[in-house]
Structures are given as C-alpha cells and as structure tokens.
Symmetry: C2
C-alpha cells in the first residue's frame, strides 16, 4: 500500500479571536493550507473538520458543509470528526484512512474551535459533558482528575513539585518563538509555583488556557505528493485506542492505557521505536499529562519522566528529545478540535524544515492527542520524505 | 484490495423511547449487533458512532468513549461521525474506510439519536442550526425548502399533488411490516391529502416524525467475514458529495448535486448501473425528496419520478424497484444519526434474506442518505455475497 503524505499545513493565530466565529477560523486555516500546499480547492476529494462542539459553543452545526462552500471545494465529500479534546488527532486518523483506503486522492483536514466568547464556566460545562455522568455528578471534572493524579504521582515516585512546574516553564519558553501561540512569553518557575491553586497540587500555570483557533493539514498518496513538492512528510504510523470511560475504574492512575495502546500500534506500523523519535508534541492540557505520555510512549521508564525533565532531556535546544517545541497546549492554547491538528502541523514543519526559530534536527516525529482524561488517545508518527 | 463485508445488523425499536437516553439506545443496538454477527466485543478494532447532536439534545458528549466502555470493547478506537441528517451514511463511509485502509479488521458502527424528550420547537431549532445562517435568519428552514421545491416540481413537471401523497401512503404500507418502525399503520391517500398544511403544498403526512432510536452494522474484510458466516453482504460502491451550503444558490432546485455526484461515484466503484439495483432505501425526510433521489440516482428521468410512483414501479410487492421497503424515514422514523445506518440495515437484511414479511428478491441494493437539504449526500451500494 502506498504511504500517505502531508504536503501542506497551516495554523491561525491561537488566542482570543474577538468578533470572529468558527466559520471564520476554519476558512482562514483552510485557505492558508490550500495555498501552502499549492492545491486548488477543486482538487480536494475529502474535507474533514475536527470540531468538538460548534453546536454547543455557537449554536451552529453543519460546519463541514459550510466550509466546503466557503472554500469552494464542492462537491468534495465532507464530514465532522468529533473525539472531544482529541478530535484533531482523530481527524488525522480519518484523513489517513480516507487516503489509505483509496477513497480520496487529496484530503484537507481542518480542525477548529471557537470558545472564548463563552464564560469560563460555560466553556468548562461543555467540556465536562464528555465525562461519565456518574463522575461528573459527583463533581469530578477533568482538572480534578489531573490534581488527584498529580498528587498520587508525586508521592508515589518521590518527584518534586518543581518538576511539574518545569514542564510549564519549558513549554512557555518554546511558545515565545511561535508567532501563532496564545501566550508568547516566558514564565519563571517561581511564578508558576506560586500561582493560585486550581486542583491541589496543580496551580493555574499547570493548565492550558481556553482558546479560539484553527489548524489544517493536506494529505494525499505519496505519488501525488511528488507531483506537488519534494519536501513533504509521511504518516508512517498511526493508531487510536480507548481506556475506561469511568476514570476511577482504572487499575493504575499513572498509566493511561490509551496512550500505551495507541503508541504501540503506531510504533508497530512505522517500524520505529521510541529511541527513533527526534521530536514530540504531547497533549499537555495539564502538566502532569506530559509525564504520563512520556512514560506511556516509552520515552521514559514508568515513574521517571520527571527525572528527564529535571535533566533537560526534553529541552528544545539542548535536549535529546525536544517535547512540545510549539509551546504545547500550555502556551500555544487548546482550541479543542484544532489542538491535535496543530500538533501535526508542528511535527510536519519540523520534518520539512519550516519551523523557523523553533527548528530542531528531526527525521521522525510523534504527536499524541488525548481525549477526555485519556478516554481515547491517537498517536501519530511522521517521517521526513526520504 | 479486498472487499468490505457486512456480517451483522441490528436496530432498536424506533419511536418515543420514554425514560431511555442516548447511551441506552446506542448500547442496545450495539449489543444486538455483536450478537447478530457473532463477534465478541474484544474483537472490535474500531467503533464509530453516528450522532448529530447528543450534546445539544441531552447535554452529553463523548458518547463513543462511553459506548466503548458500556460494550466492553476497549481498547477499540472510537470516534463520533457527524454529517447532520446524513451522519449514518457518513458512518457507513467511515466504517468502510477503516476496513478498506487496513486500519481495522472489525468495525462496529452504531448510529443513534435521542430527540423526543425535547419539544418539537427545540428539536427543530437544533436541526435548523445546520442551515446557512443567511437563510436561517430569513426563516427558511428545511421544511420551507421542501415546500418551495415541491411547488416548483409539481408546476414545472405538471405532476399531480397526489403523486407525493402516494409516496407517503406506500411507505406507511411498508412500515406496517416493520416491527421496529415508529408508525406501523397504513394511512390512506385521502387522510394524507387532507392533513394540515405545513409548508404549502406539503402537509403533515409529507414529513417524517421526530424519533428516538439506534441502528448498527458490523463491517470487516471479506476474508474475515467468511470465518463468521456464509451469508453476508459486501459494500461494492460508496461515495459522498456536497452541494452548495446556501441552498438558493443552486441552479436547479429539482436537482440535488450531491445525490447525482455520490450516486455516480458509487455506481462507478461497483461497476453497476441503476438498472442493476433491485431495492433502494431513499431519504424520504420529505416526500418530495424521494422523487429527487429517484431522478438523481438514475432510476427515473428528470421530472418523471412521479410517473413511476403513479405506475406502482416502486411498490414492494409488485414494483420493479421497491423503494423504502423498511417504511422509509416516513413511517420508520428519523432519529438523525441512526437513519442512514438503518437504511443500511434494511438493505443488508434484504440481501441476506432476513427481511421477513418485507423480503423482496434482491442481489444488489442501494441506500442514499441526505444531509441538510442535499448539502451532503452519501450513496452506498451493497451486493449479496457471491
């Protein structure tokens, strides 16, 4: 079977996009991706829109049809992909399947969410609706799970609280060089460690913000890619997996089964191992998640990711495995449906040498997009074209 | 490439399912489909949930994760497929792609919607959110489009108003023999033609009801199907296509471009022609749509579907091409995300000889699922295993 290539990418400014709505954001990213890849809208066969909740946030549904219209991509087939906070990764998987199955020779994936026009309480309510009703009704929301897990992790593995803060500090440092990031500023460790408590031991700076934004990728068979460009990436491994929807049923709160399973699947498909990965985008919706993914994906032993962070292993300029060179969800922002696509945009740009001041030396990259509290996870491995 | 087979199907009672919620309905259909196909939940690789609006209708999102949990199908990958009223057809396409791409060896598709706990006004508001805001704000909803189109069709093609009524009467007759249909009763032409006007010239009986329900299909490669059963169907053709999202921009209101394009794609892929189709499920959300699809799919010349209906061409027991043997959306009901899957269930049952009193003689069947007012359409052709 022919490999699936990525030949173009785009990302809007992430942040508070006042006066702009979901369709504005999706159209902006979609148009830029068409331009970046040199593909005419009429050549698009399938158009996927990763979006969790345009209906709940904005009262508008049918956004894929509206986008096909706005981009003048009709009669391209179109569909919305929702996998809550991992909708973007699920979109990459849908796009990959559309090309790998032969259904589409040119697939445009656009992920996006418009959230900041709602109050934090309203936005949190929409997000919390993805949790199991039993847990939700008892007041256990995603930040609570993160706090409980972080406390357990720090105690069990004798990890210092500072190690979590260092994840946030690193990702904020990386975000300074990402012109599309919501926060392009360094935050020192002291500020992070003294910020207001949200879910003990996690504090404000352990959490990603609420964000508007959109990101896009253009996928096609490798033979078609070569008609457009010499510099492209291929998706060499991709897999998704679920864990229990009732989070408290999991045997070990420090192991996300979906991360492990999807990672194993992606490694097996690509023939690569954790050591072969040169750069990774991990789903740092909460700082503790960066530890759990580093361990679940085999970059660190169980309970030891914090040591690697302390040692600078994940630093962009000096580390062996730069993690979240884009700034991560932490500083780049987390517009739900866009986040997983934006992870893919960063890895693509690193592989084709378009990451500008964030550029690292990379032949293979990985992104891991986490839905819910690990309820569903998609891991994607990309490689630079040989 | 190996063909994609369907080895099992299920459908819950459609109608007003008081006190049951989206998760109850999805789990019921999912469990029955596992049983019908003889597949253990642990063998499911991918689980797709076709659903338009569980968040808007019920305040619950993340239903695919919840269903993977309820069916004990973890770590199966799962995702929600939304394509408004054609979410079910889009789910069949997603399931097909998952198997055809090699990503999944066993894909369970479950479509469902829970709507009747909301008032008709509330439910209509959710559905209307899929239309283009420009048209919606001017008060043009889907029923209005249907009324305008029907008036134009009847005048332009000199078709009698009765011909539309005969579509409803036929589908109600078929529904009598479908134990899962919302309405299992005949309705005579006079009652239909004298029912209250909704969108002139269309009346109450030209419209499908608001419905709760779920339906499911099990898909796998043909070689895997043969390990389970000798009687299965294959998806030999499938394609989806969009038309303008702003409906009034279309050149000819009696031609749905998405029907034509997706039909052509499905015929080309299967190598079949309209004459080869023995039974069809068409998206009769409004009676006029059955005419437009018969013509767009090549079963009738443009402007002449009404004549075939008058002649009895689409009757189940005596017609050359039985249409909506299940009762159609008209009598079976239209739980948005379930409808396209339920179309597939009917065609599958016809092809494997499990349609009971509705059984017709069929080697090849087609279903056409329409999103919005033809904004996106998916056409699927299935054939009985040779």
């Amino acid at each position: 079977m022919e490999r699936v290539a990525i030949i173009g990418a785009s990302m809007t400014q992430f942040g508070q996009r006042e006066g702009e709505w979901i369709m504005d954001l999706l159209a902006e990213a979609g148009e830029e991706c068409l331009e970046d890849s040199g593909v005419d809208a009429s050549a698009v066969d399938h158009l996927y829109v990763s979006n969790m909740a345009s209906g709940e946030f904005e009262g508008q549904t049918g956004v894929p049809n509206a986008l096909a219209h706005d981009l003048d991509a009709m009669p391209a087939y179109t569909q919305r992909v929702d996998q809550t906070s991992s909708s973007g990764g699920a979109g990459i998987y849908a796009a990959w399947q559309s090309v790998a199955s032969g259904a589409s020779e040119m697939t445009l994936l656009v992920g996006g969410e418009k959230m900041t026009h709602r109050t934090t309480g309203e936005a949190t309510d929409v997000i919390a609706s993805l949790t199991h009703p039993v847990e939700y009704k008892h007041g256990v929301t995603l930040p609570s799970f993160a706090g409980l897990t972080a406390r357990h992790y720090l105690e069990r593995f004798d990890a210092p609280r500072e190690s979590l803060g260092k994840v946030a500090a690193k990702n904020h440092r990386n975000g300074v060089d990402n012109p599309h990031a919501q926060f392009q500023k360094e935050v020192d460790l002291e500020t992070i460690l003294e910020s207001p408590v949200v879910a003990d031991p996690l504090r404000l700076y352990d959490f990603c913000p609420i964000t508007d934004g959109s990101a896009a990728l253009m996928c096609c068979p490798e033979s078609v890619a070569q008609e457009y460009t010499d510099t492209y990436a291929v998706i060499s491994g991709i897999d998704g997996a679920t864990d229990t929807h009732v989070v408290h049923e999991r045997e070990d709160p420090t192991v996300m089964g979906g991360v492990v399973e999807s990672g194993n699947g992606a490694y097996e498909m690509s023939g690569l191992e954790p050591d072969d990965i040169d750069v990774a985008e991990l789903h740092d919706m909460f700082t503790i998640l960066e530890f759990l993914q580093m361990e679940g994906l085999g970059f660190a032993e169980h309970g030891e990711a914090w040591k690697l962070v302390e040692e600078g292993y994940t630093e962009r300029e000096t580390g062996e495995l730069p993690v979240n060179t884009s700034g991560g969800l932490k500083s780049k922002g987390h517009p739900l449906g866009a986040s997983g696509v934006a992870q893919g945009v960063e890895i693509y740009e690193q592989l084709v040498g378009e990451a500008g001041p964030r550029q690292v030396d990379a032949e293979a990259g990985l992104c891991c997009n986490v839905g819910g509290f690990g309820n569903c996870v998609i891991t994607t491995i990309m490689e630079a074209a040989q």
